[in-house]
């Protein structure tokens, strides 16, 4: 079986190596990816269209807003599916698993984490809010924020983390992120534009059309950040305890 599987694998490898002859060289400025009108349009017009200095954020939130919305929905659905799969596992009745031990949280670890978590969370907000002018955005900020809760769960136990961020609230926050994203899109649709065409928000807010896009991208990123935060933590909480939400790692 293992030797047999080498045949297709090596075949694919030979084909890919052979195909790499046609790929552009490392850092070639005239490579098809860099030369395409799409990429030049993004680089040339982002500043005019959205006033966002970070092109990645502008492309993510505005030019490819539809794609990003459904990526967020995929994250949301994955989190909900994990909840649904592990919720009715029959492990719930049996109390502790064999390898679980009762251990007091270590005082050095907990105090270090007590100091670290606020810094991590502020950094998460910074990454989220500064995504317009520096590398960052909703996905990165959301993951950082979720990691801070996971750190609490690792250093104390899961109950401590769940007391601060219950799973029910996780679901609500994740849904709220999607609704915020879709709501901004729908609002711009009701104001006369197309779905996720944020420029129409200038009709109700006292900003220019470009700055309306700027602020709408921020709103969209916050929605993404909420969803990712909640789903990251609920993924950890469910997977580490096989859905029982007790004990855990």
């Amino acid at each position: 079986m293992k030797k047999l599987s080498l045949i297709p694998v090596l075949l694919v490898g030979i084909l890919l190596i052979y195909a790499s002859k046609d790929f552009p060289e490392w850092g070639d400025p005239s490579s098809p990816a860099s030369k395409s009108p799409l990429s030049s349009h993004f680089i040339a017009n982002t500043g005019v269209d959205t006033e966002v200095p970070n092109m990645v954020t502008a492309v993510l939130g505005d030019y490819r807003g539809f794609d990003t919305m459904f990526e967020t929905v995929v994250v949301f659905i994955a989190g909900m599916a994990v909840l649904a799969i592990l919720k009715n596992s029959d492990n719930k009745k049996s109390g502790k698993r064999e390898f679980e031990v009762d251990a007091e949280p270590d005082i050095i670890v907990t105090n270090t984490v007590r100091l670290l978590v606020p810094v991590i969370q502020i950094f998460a907000f910074y990454v989220l809010a500064h995504g317009h002018v520096s590398p960052g955005g909703g996905f990165q900020g959301g993951v950082l924020m979720g990691a801070s809760f996971i750190l609490v769960a690792l250093s104390w136990d899961l109950d401590t983390a769940l007391a601060r961020f219950p799973l029910g609230r996780c679901t609500i926050v994740a849904g709220a992120g999607i609704i915020l994203y879709g709501g901004i899109g729908l609002l711009s649709m009701f104001l006369g534009g197309e779905f996720l065409d944020y420029a129409e928000l200038a009709n109700v807010f006292p900003v220019s059309r470009e700055m309306a896009r700027y602020y709408a991208i921020l709103g969209v990123e916050i929605g993404v950040g909420l969803t990712v935060t909640a789903i990251m933590f609920s993924l950890y909480a469910n997977l580490s305890t096989e859905g029982r939400l007790k004990g855990g790692l």
């Binding site: 500043g47 005019v48 970070n54 092109m55």
Partner: protein, 293 residues
Amino acid sequence: MFEGGGIINELFIERLNYLIYVVLLLIGLHAMIAKNNLIKKLIGMSIFQTAIILFYVSVGVKEGATIPIYLPEHDPHGSHASHSDGNETEQSNHGPVVLDAELVKGYSNPLPHVLMLTAIVVGVATLGLALALCLRIYQGYGTIEEDEILAKIEKQEMRSNPSDVLKSADSSKQATSRSAKSVSKPKVSSPRSSKRSKASPKTKAKATSPTTKAKTSGTKPVSPKRKAAASKSTTTGSKKSPAKPKTAASKSTTKAKPKPRAKPKAKPTARAKAKSTAKKATASKPKPRTPKK
């Protein structure tokens, strides 16, 4: 294939990024195909994903270009620096402008970064979903080895609808002869398996109620398959030592107790007990077999 600089030179120096991506991709692909353990398959999938991410990012590299964030002179809000002058006309000069082609060359392509940014986070979420499925499979079947799961599913299907088996009894008879050959193949354990083949029909007859002949004939094709699986596990067991106690457990349960087979939804404690009994059974191997003869 590669003229001029020679294949090695071309591949290892000028196109090293493609070589690395191909190697990573192949490692992932091979793990996904060849590994039996579901978690190892997932690790392979993650490596595969990493290869794709590396490919996209390496394609997005542009010589002499900076990151796709506007430098202060092109920044639409770069005029803030000169805001202190209070000169309105100068500020408008610094306002957002469409960059011309020369300036566009100074920024790398933002599109691959955007695509991979979302792919990473979505990859984490889908990996979590896959791990949850693995957990559930482990709770249901007590194993995450693919071949063991398939064997258990086959057994379950045979037990749950014997009428279907009866319909395909003719074809399964052929299958029995075929599987009998496959049993006799590993010659090291052939005497044992022949013993088992003698013993197992008896246990089968005990297990199923003798009044329903259809059932007994239906369950007949089960035994060779189980045997085949058992013999396989004995042959592979010598290679993989951790797999041994489990397979031994399934063997001993099917041997020692004629009627109750391990329920699919076995609790971990029950499983642990089965393991411990299996260890005992392996210590005194011939014992449980002799009364069955």
